[in-house]
């Protein structure tokens, strides 16, 4: 049964010479019922880079992000047109295995959402789903993921404690570790620091910086400075349309569209 579904083979070669497009949208639209939330977006996202999506509330940026690992499927009456492909495979074609897709495209949410389980079980959740049962192997993955998420030193002595006992910032890093534990080539972050204090936000940003080049990160953020600090590329969404998309430096220094400039300088949003 698994064989029938198209498996995701995403190459992991992220050497600087191969910075080609990993994810591409072609006239991609998302509808809530009749309401078009993302309007015919066409963009390519570079492998191994950090791409920020900015825009005012309700501009469709979260919808677009959640379309990449098909989390929108959970909402009734959502439909899409156009094409959204990862390494040439349209993820909305009929024979796609959504579960395999989500294992390759990790996600970190707005609010820290660890399971009410132990810290260990939280991180081990993904690997166990993939059938890794051997204790030693799971332990290795958990340690590696927590180290990558810069949380290991803080929690290594209390892995069996409930994850909800951690602070908000720690919880969010735990969620990053949990997402990293399945080793996804692409990581989506939906306003990952909006519920955190500045100090915890800083640690998440450091984390993003460390993950750069190793995996492709797409981050939705309301915080302009954050986008400027962490991202290589920035796209500006407005009322469902992709207004402008180029390197972060260019967007923040000489935006080509009036609306982008207005938004960045804080004239609306």
């Amino acid at each position: 049964m698994v064989n029938k579904k198209k498996a995701f083979q995403i190459s992991r070669d992220t050497s600087a010479t191969n910075k080609n497009s990993q994810l591409s949208a072609r006239k991609f639209s998302v509808f809530y019922g009749k309401n078009e939330a993302v309007k015919s977006v066409t963009m390519d996202i570079t492998k191994g880079a950090v791409t920020a999506i900015i825009g005012p509330s309700g501009c469709g940026k979260s919808t677009f992000l959640r379309a990449i690992n098909r989390m929108n499927d959970l909402i009734p009456l959502v439909s899409v047109t156009g094409e959204l492909s990862i390494e040439g495979t349209n993820i909305y074609s009929k024979n796609i295995d959504v579960i395999a897709l989500r294992q390759r495209v990790g996600m970190v949410f707005q609010k820290p959402n660890p399971f009410p389980k132990s810290i260990f079980d939280n991180v081990a959740y993904g690997p166990r789903l993939q059938g890794i049962r051997e204790r030693k192997a799971v332990l290795d993955i958990v340690e590696k993921s927590l180290v990558r998420a810069a949380l290991w030193d803080e929690v290594k002595d209390r892995l069996t404690e409930n994850a909800l006992g951690l602070s908000g910032g720690q919880q969010q890093r735990l969620c990053v570790a949990r997402a990293l534990a399945v080793d996804p080539p692409i990581l989506l972050m939906d306003e990952p620091t909006s519920a955190l204090d500045p100090r915890s936000s800083g640690r998440i940003e450091d984390l993003i910086d460390e993950l750069r080049e190793k995996i492709t990160i797409i981050i939705v953020t309301h915080n302009m400075q954050q986008a400027a600090r962490v991202s290589d590329f920035t796209s500006f969404f407005y009322e469902g349309n992709l207004i402008e998309y180029s390197s972060t430096r260019r967007i923040f220094t000489m935006p080509s569209d009036k609306r982008t400039e207005d938004y960045i300088t804080g004239r609306f949003g």
């Binding site: 690992n69 989390m71 959970l74 009734p76 579960i99 395999a100 989500r102 294992q103 990790g106 996600m107 949410f109 609010k111 959402n113 660890p114 399971f115 009410p116 389980k117 959740y125 993904g126 789903l129 993939q130 404690e161 409930n162 994850a163 909800l164 006992g165 969620c175 949990r178 997402a179 399945v182």
Partner: protein
């Protein structure tokens, strides 16, 4: 409204609230205290020598030598009594015929009462029924029976506009001037010697089978039957209820079909329980023949239907209360919906689901009407585990009702009645306490 007025109104509501909750507490205390006091009387009571005889005969408990010693002591206190009776019987022919007729009638009546107190007299043949083999086994019963020995209950109908007035007429007056006259004070003064009461803790009340229609023994079969029926109901209702709740919350879309389904489930919880009982008889027994006639399995299925709505509702609410973010997190890690439900949703919803289950258990244990037609019998042993598919069973709820309505001499076994009610309440109460404990434990665990 001015400030003083608002304050006054506020105070009035506080007082009203306190009053009504206080009223509730008092009502509960008034309701439960006598049940507890008298219910405990089934376990801890002053047992007479007759009780110890009965225990040795029927249950083979107790020390035979010790008992024989006691019997000797009791007999030495009883022998003057029997002596007097014998003398009176022999001397009765000396009275004039009219007097003789009256006296022999009174004497016969008196003897009957005395037999209930002391058991059959020496030299009489041993009666067939265990209830007639022994005198009063409990001290509290002995005192009641002593009263009927000392006094004759009569009704005064002289005033036709009033109901008959009860008069307690001392029997010593009936036998005034005969050799029996001083028997009554002797009996009254030597009750302790004659019956030798001792405190016992009859813990086997919960496990013993009853002997001779609950005159002696305990309520073991009823307790086991209640456990069978309750667990059976849970076994059927819980998987069905949780699966329905999962379907309603996770898989179904909100459309006319699910809203009708929800309405039907709510309606089901409003159906009177006796209707469930009749339905169980008509459907499980008469239509699909789960058993030839009343059986534990038919009763369990009927009770399962009765508690199903509660379990569906509480599970549904518990599942809906699980934050959406847990679902998203699990799915984003590549869990299939089913895997997400089993590994994240159900564990997080477990406290709520468990509470619903345990409260339903209490309900199933206490329900009477659904099992009248489907599972319950008034007497007999609880079936063996393998016979639950064909055999009916006694059960606490039904036997409480049955004793109250159909037992011939219920006034002699009040302690059994109270013991049953007490046991049932304790079962339900402890289930509810368990629910509270489990809930707080799980909530603590989930909160970290």
């Amino acid at each position: 409204m001015n400030l003083a007025g608002r304050k006054l109104l506020d105070k009035a509501f506080t007082i009203l609230g306190m009053l009504s909750s206080g009223f509730l507490v008092i009502a509960i205390i008034i309701l439960l205290t006598p049940i507890f006091m008298k219910g405990i009387g089934a376990f801890v009571f002053r047992a007479t020598i007759e009780y110890r005889k009965m225990e040795l005969d029927l249950f083979e408990r107790g020390d035979r030598e010790e008992l024989e010693k006691e019997i000797k002591q009791a007999e030495s206190a009883r022998s003057p009594l029997f002596e007097k009776l014998k003398n009176f019987k022999e001397g009765i022919s000396n009275f004039p015929p009219a007097e003789k007729k009256r006296l022999s009638e009174s004497f016969h009546d008196f003897e009957m009462c005395l037999r209930e107190l002391l058991g059959p007299f020496p030299g009489e043949s041993v009666p067939e029924l265990p209830r007639n083999k022994y005198g009063a086994t409990r001290w509290d019963q002995a005192l009641i029976k002593l009263k009927s020995v000392l006094y004759k209950e009569e009704y005064d109908y002289t005033n036709p506009s009033k109901m008959g007035q009860k008069i307690m007429k001392p029997r010593s007056k009936e036998f005034a001037g005969t050799s029996l006259e001083n028997l009554f004070p002797y009996l009254e003064q030597n009750m302790e010697k004659i019956l030798q009461p001792k405190f016992v803790f009859y813990r086997q009340f919960l496990t013993d089978a009853s002997k001779d229609a609950h005159f002696f023994g305990g309520i073991g079969p009823e307790v086991i039957g209640t456990i069978y029926l309750t667990l059976g109901a849970i076994v059927f209702a819980v998987p069905m209820g949780i699966l329905t709740a999962i379907y309603l919350t996770e898989y179904s879309r909100q459309n006319w079909y699910t809203s009708i389904l929800r309405t039907l489930i709510s309606t089901l919880s409003g159906v009177p329980s006796v209707v469930f009982g009749l339905f169980g008889l008509a459907f499980f027994i008469n239509s699909i023949h789960v058993s030839q006639s009343k059986s534990v399995i038919a009763g369990s299925l009927t009770l399962a239907l009765l508690i199903l709505p509660t379990i569906v509702r509480s599970s549904e609410e518990a599942i809906l209360a699980v934050p959406k973010t847990y679902r998203e997190a699990a799915l984003s890690l590549g869990a299939s919906p089913w895997k997400m439900i089993v590994s994240v949703l159900l564990p997080a919803a477990l406290p709520g689901i468990l509470t619903g289950i345990i409260i339903s258990m209490g309900r199933a244990a206490g329900e009477t009407a659904p099992i009248i037609f489907t599972a319950a019998v008034s007497l007999g042993e609880a079936p063996k585990l393998l016979d639950i598919f064909s055999q009916p069973t006694p059960a606490l709820s039904w036997n409480i009702y049955n004793l109250a309505t159909e037992h011939q001499k219920v006034d002699q076994i009040r302690h059994v009645q109270y013991g049953m009610v007490f046991s049932l309440i304790m079962i339900v109460l402890s289930l509810n306490c368990l629910a509270i404990m489990l809930r707080s434990r799980f909530v603590k665990k989930l909160k970290g």
